[in-house]
Symmetry: C2
Subunit: 648 residues, 2 copies
């Protein structure tokens, strides 16, 4: 175990800045005090942004490399897919401009799109018996996209909801959420990662599974039993089918799950654990000096399921295999291996060469490098101690969290307490760990603003990491933007990593709090700009098909939009009716979206070109209600209305 | 009436670009065809962005004036307050960077803040008898801020919801919505403008009223009567008290209201009308060759109310005065004056010198300039024909909508069909209209991308317009950003107007659709970054005050947050309880916000430093539920939880 007193990092970090942050924070932590991070954070803002630590390019430096500023009309060269945090959405950014191009509503309602208003979206989101939405809050953290041959293939992305343990899938052709699944038997679903190929079938060189880690220990099943026996609370690791979005299997584990990763050969998935203790107060969760990174042998797990070696929990039909330490002592039959890593790690990341997973120890100043080849050897029974898969564990700075890569052998790790990014060379770290004390593994440090969490670089989570741009999600923005009251934006900072030195080039405020994101070349996506009318079985394909059909008190109103008119231009219903409005946008021109609002009836949604949506509502107020187009479409947009006449 | 064939604008617009857009669009319009705008729009994108029309600085040109790109850490010099469209929020941008710094939820739920989840927000938003939200959709269009001495005073902003005729107030100290009022007797509340001083009391040199225009004609009251007698449908103009947010009075008018404006002397408010016809199909709404701008004599209206010269409508207690043409024929007693303006205008804007209101005729290529001094003379009986208040009506381009100002005598009007901004000199236009055919009132034209709607310039709606920056909200973005599926962002384009020529400097995508906005110097706001704990009567001021109080099945759980712990760290309730959680964030450090989520219980909200919020919910599931901090706060953020133990 490395020394955590941090009095001697390999490189000479700026002593003035470090003095504020270093030992006091760790002292507070060890004594379960409340000062960790915040004392550092508070004082941090008093240090000047420039000059930074030796070896760091001055913040604000421009022109050393790439220009992040686009001319009007110039397109970004990279897509960024960002999680939306508590907003529950999936965000699409253009890079290097940092501009937010789109938000895809997933878990939470969105009044622009009509997400949570239309029948189609409610069916995806899930409703209670009375038809109202089951959930209207979410907490998205991580988003990853589907792979083929080690790169993104532009089919899907996935995003998690930690509050309600849901996973949503986003179609990347239309940028819409098309399925949501709630995971059984778990709480605090946090980490998420698709597999990259099948562990057995070489023809399946693309994503077919998504791995999900659950953070909180709960009674199993969580139905009121074992409330006061926290030692019986457990956590599981879950596999979801990428196509059907059904849960394939779960693994009962010791400890908890935090983030997830998958290997490029399809054979391994992993999750880091910060609470191997199973503690339920924070001081218990940090009592052990080391935690773990779990490796799941996918082929063996699926064979065990095939062989019927599983149980089920409560009402859930999902097969659950046993991945606890006690049942997995023999490597040759083990489904799961527990590698010891630095204290309370908060991330596990795969190097783009496919060789290593890296866990940074949040409460240790070190990162642990694990050799995947050796992990497979351990599963083959060729290594006796699984901790011999660790090929490096080196000091990099205070509060290391997440790691990105440039494809040139370098890792970039966020240092939460130091408010820095450290660039370090993985091979040099391995050499240093191996005894070569001359190996200089720390290459550069960059001050960021402030308290960085997730980090990612262009193409970093593929085999094609290109080392151009890096973004870092800073949890505090403090003084970086004009003040807007107590709730601050977070800062996504953009860093040019094309050279030896990192160069901070732009600050972008973001609505809290995006957590994780991925960045990839624009060529990897070919989104469609207009829907196909035939994709909607209830489409109203012509204004001639528009009109009202009544069956008793059940009324269907078929409407078409074609700028600047709805058809029909008036329709009649009665108080007490249950009305379903079906609207098809017959306009075919790209970007020609219409909206449809009914005053006082809580209805609004948009229909993009050739799209169909429907809403169902109870008629409870008599009068005249002007249904109007809410999405500016035409010079006569204001005049585009249909009149709902409601008889008492 | 001017010729609308548009074959001879004063300046020589680019014939190639104009050929696509011009006559076809107007032909389609005249014949009530469907081609207006969209045919133009579609073809428009095929013209190259550069070079633009003669007299236009090339799009993409940089360096002619101001630099819109900030270095990391550099602060913006202007605030922008933006409406959020169907998202129902109020957005805060920094300019010139164009970065979105904040969103203030108003009319619609926001899962980050807990807006629509907390008891406090539900009380502001309004609920049904069962406690659920009355509305979850909105359509915000216009936002304006409170004035003092002709400039913004940083107290309040207001924003409208067109769908449900609501007005929200935003406190600009904390950037929070504190009151929402639903207007009675109206539908399609669209335009909004605060007054700038009192019409009578010179000591009241600040905003005390907000004027609201309603667009849709409805039966009065709208309770099922007169459904098939659209000739009886009517519209009203409404005044809301800026402090109490109660409706002071309404004016029954002929025709409808669109946008609103107020004079710098406090004496006049105005609304433009595009549907003087009272039509209920779009071709009826454009049948008249001219429409109107209505002027309201505020002092006379309030005297009439004081004198009891009003009626009431239906269940509403609001006094309604008679502003119809028939009852206001005598200028000396008129409450309202009807000035004839260009066809189907979509905006009325006050020049910063206080002299004129300008209405642009959306379906006429002209803008009408009305002299406010003469309007007052008309009210005094010194002018026989109110149309003699028109001092100019000049051709400026196709589809003119909204107008901004630079404080140097120039107006900037968006041309929806031309996809341009035209810069024109108001005094020169007046001279031209007066017969001086040598007066060159068109100064410059700039292509924008595409179909511009609202426009505003820095300080433009104050007496201190400074002519630095101009933003234009383009309704279509089409090819300006990376494709993200059928729903496109809109484009807010930033223009440097500090020189003679306009220079397009940046494209910013925005979530549809912001409509209107204002821009002002950052010195005018001094937001507070930390709440005062005493502002919350239910605050839990110490961890010692935290805990559970039960009265029968009603349970109150008082919780404090102080990184990295909640107090209490576990609490116990029973299925069937009604639980109110009250959470106070005891952290005092700027930007140190905590979140509080309860899995599966649909609870999540944040508390900023020293803030208190509460939620109430029915306990319906037994088990262990880890309430966790959802807002990254500390190195031990992940470990920050409180355990809700629910007994069956």
């Amino acid at each position: 175990m490395k020394d955590t007193s941090l009095i001697h990092l390999q490189d000479s970090a700026d002593p003035a800045r470090r003095r504020f942050i270093g030992s006091a924070a760790l002292t507070g932590l060890a004594g379960a005090g409340l000062s960790l991070g915040l004392s550092g954070c508070q004082q941090d803002t008093k240090t000047p942004a420039t000059p930074a630590a030796p070896g760091t390019a001055g913040a604000g430096a421009h022109g050393a490399g790439q220009n992040p500023h686009l001319k009007p009309g110039e397109l970004d060269t990279y897509y960024g897919l960002w999680s939306g945090g508590h907003t529950g959405d999936f965000r699409v950014l253009g890079l290097p401009s940092g501009r937010e191009l789109h938000r895809v509503p997933c878990f939470n309602p969105d009044a622009l799109v009509g997400w949570g208003i239309t029948n189609e979206s409610k069916a995806i989101m899930g409703t209670k018996a009375d038809g109202s939405l089951r959930y209207t809050v979410a907490d998205t953290h991580h988003t990853h996209a589907s792979y083929k041959d080690g790169n993104y293939d532009g089919r899907y992305a996935w995003i998690n909801d930690k509050i309600n343990s849901r996973i949503a899938r986003i179609r990347l052709d239309y940028f819409i959420c098309d399925k949501i699944t709630q995971l059984p038997n778990v709480q605090g679903f946090h980490g998420i990662f698709p597999d990259k190929r099948d562990p057995v079938d070489p023809a399946i060189n693309y994503t077919t599974r998504v791995f999900c880690g659950a953070e909180f220990h709960v009674p199993l099943p969580n139905d009121g039993r074992d409330l006061d026996s926290p030692e019986k609370y457990r956590s599981l690791f879950t596999c979801v089918d990428a196509e059907t979005m059904e849960v394939r299997w779960q693994v009962l584990i010791d400890g908890n799950c935090d983030l997830a990763a998958s290997s490029y050969d399809g054979k391994l998935a992993a999750t880091n654990q910060y609470n191997t203790e199973g503690g339920y107060h924070y001081e218990d969760m940090m009592s052990a000096e080391r935690d773990a990174c779990l490796f799941f042998n996918i082929a063996r797990i699926e064979q065990a399921v095939k062989d019927g070696k599983f149980t089920r929990i409560g009402q859930s039909a999902v097969p659950v295999v046993d991945g606890t330490r006690a049942s997995n002592a023999d490597p040759k039959t083990a489904l799961v291996g527990y590698v010891s890593v630095s204290k309370n790690p908060h991330g596990v990341n795969a190097t783009p060469d496919g060789k290593y997973f890296i866990c940074a120890g949040k409460l240790s100043p070190t990162a642990t490098v694990i050799d995947l080849g050796r992990v497979l050897e351990w599963f083959d029974g060729r290594i006796d101690d699984i901790d011999k898969t660790i090929v490096a564990e080196v000091e990099i700075g205070l509060g290391p969290l997440h790691t990105a890569f440039d494809g040139r052998g370098n890792a970039y790790t966020t240092l939460f307490l130091d408010s820095q990014i450290v660039k370090w060379n993985v091979d040099a770290a391995i050499r240093f760990h191996g005894g070569d004390t001359t190996a200089q593994y720390v290459v550069d440090r960059l001050d960021v603003h402030y308290q960085p969490g997730h980090i990612n670089a262009s193409q970093s989570e593929t085999m094609f990491a290109d080392g151009k741009w890096l973004a870092v999600g800073c949890k505090f923005s403090k003084d970086r933007f004009l003040p807007v009251g107590p709730l601050h934006a977070e800062t996504e900072q953009l860093v040019d990593i094309s050279g030896e030195k990192m160069v901070l080039v732009a600050d972008h405020p973001v609505r809290p709090e995006p957590h994780d994101f991925i960045i990839f070349k624009r060529e990897l996506l070919q989104p469609k700009q207009v829907y196909s009318i035939d994709d909607f079985p209830n489409a109203v394909k012509s204004p001639k098909d528009a009109g009202v059909v009544r069956e008793g008190k059940t009324v269907t109103v078929r409407i078409t939009s074609m700028a600047p008119a709805f058809e029909p231009r008036e329709f009649r219903v009665k108080v007490g009716d249950e009305v379903t409005v079906i609207l098809t946008n017959l306009d075919k021109i790209e970007d020609l979206t219409h909206g449809f609002a009914i005053p006082n009836y809580n209805v609004n949604f948009i229909v993009s070109p050739q799209e169909t949506k429907s809403v169902t509502f109870k008629v409870d107020q008599p009068g005249v209600f002007w249904c109007y187009c809410t999405h500016f479409c035409h010079a006569l947009h204001l005049e585009m209305r249909s009149r709902m006449i409601v008889e008492a």
